[in-house]
C-alpha cells in the first residue's frame, strides 16, 4: 500500500471548439500516447488499471465502457467507466493506488461536444422527470435561479459576475489551449444577449472538444519515473440533495464538504495563504465567486469585491483560473475536472508559459457537474 499518489504523466488532444477531422477514439488515442510518453510508461506493460469518465447520453451510445479499452492500450486489462466529473475519476485512481490494488493507474476524460446535435435536449433529461421535466424548460433556468438567489443573499452584483468573464477570457489569450480568449469590456458582458436573467449568454461557457489522459503512480514508482512528480495531497467529493425543491440555492454546502474532505487529507488549514493557484468552476460566471466562498478563500459575499480589487488576477494574491477557465478554454463536459487538473500540473511544473503563476507550489482544483446537479469535487495538488 502506498500513502502518496502522484501524477507522473499528462497528455491532451485538442482543445478546439470543433474537431471534425478526428473521432473521439482518435482524440483519446492522441492524449494517451502523449501521457505515456510524458510518464515514460508502456501502457501494455506498466499500467495496472484504467478509469474513464463518460455519460452514455452524451456519448450517444449505451454502455460506453465497451468503447474505451482499445485506444488507451487497455484491452485485457482492468478498466471501468464512471459517470462523473474527471475529478471523480482522479479520486477513483487515488483509491485504486492507496488500496494497493494498483501501482500505476490511467485516468481519462474527453469531450466531443461538437458532435452533440441536441445538447440542450440531452441536458433536460437530467431534470426530475416527474416534478420538473413536464414544464419543458431549458435547463439553464436552474443557473438563472441560482444566480438570482446568490446575488440576493450575498450582496454580490451583476457587475462583479461580469468581471469574472472579463478576467478569464483575458487570461485565455495567454493560453494556447484556450479557444475563447477575448478582450471584452465589462459592458460587453453586462449588456450582451440574455440567457436566463440575471444570467447572460456571455457569462455562460461555450463547449470545446478534446481529451485528457493522466498517469497516476504510487510514490516509489513515481520517484523512479521522474524528478518532478505532482502529488495529489487530498481529494474530496460530495453531493447535496438533488431536489430543486429542497436544496440550498444561495450556498454550495456540497462544495464546502468536498473541500473540507480534501483539506483534511492535505493538512491544509488556511486556503488563502497556503494555496498559490486555483482552477475552479466557472461554467457560469457567478459560480466562480460562489465557489471561492464555499472553498473558504474568503467570507460569504466577499469574493466579488476581492475580484474587483485584482486579488484573483494572474498577478494577484490568489490567481484564479489563469488558464482562462471554462469561460476561456471552453467547457469540456465531464472532462472539465481533468482539464483543470492538467492546468494545475502545468503550473506546478512551471510549464504554463505565458500564464505561469510564479513559484506556484500548491494548487487547488475544483469541479462541478453542472446544472441541474449538486455534485462537486475538490483536489489539492503540490510539487
Amino acid at each position: 500500500m502506498s500513502d502518496r499518489v502522484a501524477i507522473v504523466g499528462v497528455g491532451w488532444s485538442g482543445f478546439r471548439p470543433k474537431t471534425p477531422d478526428l473521432s473521439y477514439k482518435e482524440l483519446m488515442y492522441e492524449a494517451a500516447v502523449r501521457a505515456y510518453a510524458d510518464a515514460g510508461v508502456d501502457p501494455r506493460r506498466d499500467v495496472d488499471s484504467f478509469v474513464t469518465v463518460a455519460e452514455d447520453f452524451i456519448e450517444g451510445t449505451s454502455i460506453f465502457d465497451e468503447y474505451v479499452p482499445d485506444q488507451l492500450g487497455a484491452a485485457l486489462k482492468p478498466v471501468h467507466t464512471i459517470t462523473g466529473d474527471g475529478l471523480h475519476g482522479l479520486a477513483t485512481g487515488v483509491m485504486l493506488i492507496r488500496s494497493g490494488i494498483a501501482r500505476v493507474v490511467v485516468v481519462e476524460g474527453h469531450s466531443k461536444a461538437s458532435n452533440l446535435l441536441t445538447p440542450d435536449t440531452i441536458l433536460a433529461y437530467a431534470q426530475d422527470p416527474v416534478l420538473n421535466r413536464p414544464l419543458r424548460l431549458n435547463t439553464h433556468f436552474v443557473a438563472g435561479m441560482e444566480m438570482h438567489r446568490y446575488l440576493y443573499e450575498s450582496g454580490t452584483t451583476r457587475e462583479q459576475c461580469a468581471a469574472v468573464v472579463v478576467k478569464n477570457r483575458r487570461n485565455a489569450l495567454r493560453n494556447p489551449l484556450a479557444a475563447y480568449g477575448a478582450d471584452l469590456s465589462l459592458e460587453e458582458v453586462l449588456f450582451g444577449p440574455p440567457l436566463a436573467w440575471p444570467l447572460g449568454k456571455r457569462e455562460t461557457a461555450a463547449t470545446t472538444d478534446g481529451a485528457i489522459v493522466m498517469v497516476l503512480a504510487a510514490e516509489e514508482v513515481a520517484r523512479a519515473l521522474r524528478q518532478d512528480p505532482i502529488w495529489i495531497r487530498g481529494i474530496g467529493w460530495c453531493n447535496d440533495s438533488p431536489s430543486l425543491e429542497s436544496r440550498e440555492w444561495g450556498n454550495l454546502p456540497y462544495i464546502q464538504e468536498a473541500a473540507q474532505m480534501a483539506y483534511q487529507q492535505a493538512g491544509l488549514r488556511d486556503p488563502w495563504n497556503e494555496v498559490d493557484v486555483a482552477e475552479i468552476d466557472d461554467t457560469y460566471a457567478y459560480k466562480e465567486l460562489q465557489t471561492l466562498e464555499a472553498l473558504g478563500f474568503c467570507g460569504y459575499g466577499e469574493a466579488g469585491s476581492l475580484l474587483e480589487s485584482g486579488a484573483f488576477d494572474l498577478d494577484g494574491e490568489l490567481p484564479v483560473n489563469p488558464s482562462g477557465g471554462s469561460l476561456g478554454v471552453g467547457h469540456m463536459l465531464d472532462a472539465t475536472g481533468l482539464m483543470r487538473t492538467l492546468e494545475a500540473v502545468f503550473q506546478l511544473r512551471g510549464e504554463a508559459g505565458a500564464h505561469q503563476v510564479e513559484g506556484a507550489e500548491v494548487a487547488l482544483v475544483q469541479s462541478w457537474r453542472g446544472v441541474p446537479t449538486t455534485s462537486g469535487a475538490v483536489a489539492i495538488l503540490s510539487n
Binding site: 471534425p20 477531422d21 416534478l131 413536464p134 438570482h148 436566463a196 440533495s241 429542497s246
Partner: protein
Amino acid sequence: MTFLERDPLAPQAWFGNLPAAHRYTYGLAGERFFRALKDEGKILGSYCPKCDRTYVPATAFCERCLGELTDWRDMGLVGELHTFTVLYVDVEGRPLETPQIVGLVSFGDGGIVHFLHADPESLVIGMPMRAVLKPPHERQGSILDIQYFEPFQA
C-alpha cells in the same frame, strides 16, 4: 492530419439518434401527492418530527434522518417566492419569442418549481405567490395540474 488537409468530399460522419421512452412511477408518496392535487386541489407536504422539516412535494421518507414520514400536511396554495429567472431559450436551446418566467415558490422547507404569471419587474424575492390550478375536470394528476403561480394579495 489536420482539418485543413482533409478532402472535403470524403465521407465525414454518420448521423444517428437515441430514441428513449420511459414510464416514471410516482411511488407511494408521489401517488398520494398527485391524487390530492388532482382530486382536492391541495399541495401536500410531509413532516419529519425528528428533523423538524416539512418536505414539499411530500416524500415518503426524510432525506436527513431516513425516517419514514407519516405526518402529511395541507400546505395551502400560497407560498413564498424563493428565487426566479426569465428564460430566453426553449428546451431545445432555440430563442423564445416570449421569454418564460420561472420560479421556485417555497412551501415548508421545500417548494414547487413552476411558471410565474406576472410582470417580472413587479416580482420580488420573498413575496407571496398563489398557485392557480386547472379546473378539476382538466386535471390529470401531474405537476401540470398547476397552471402557474401569480402574486397574491391577502
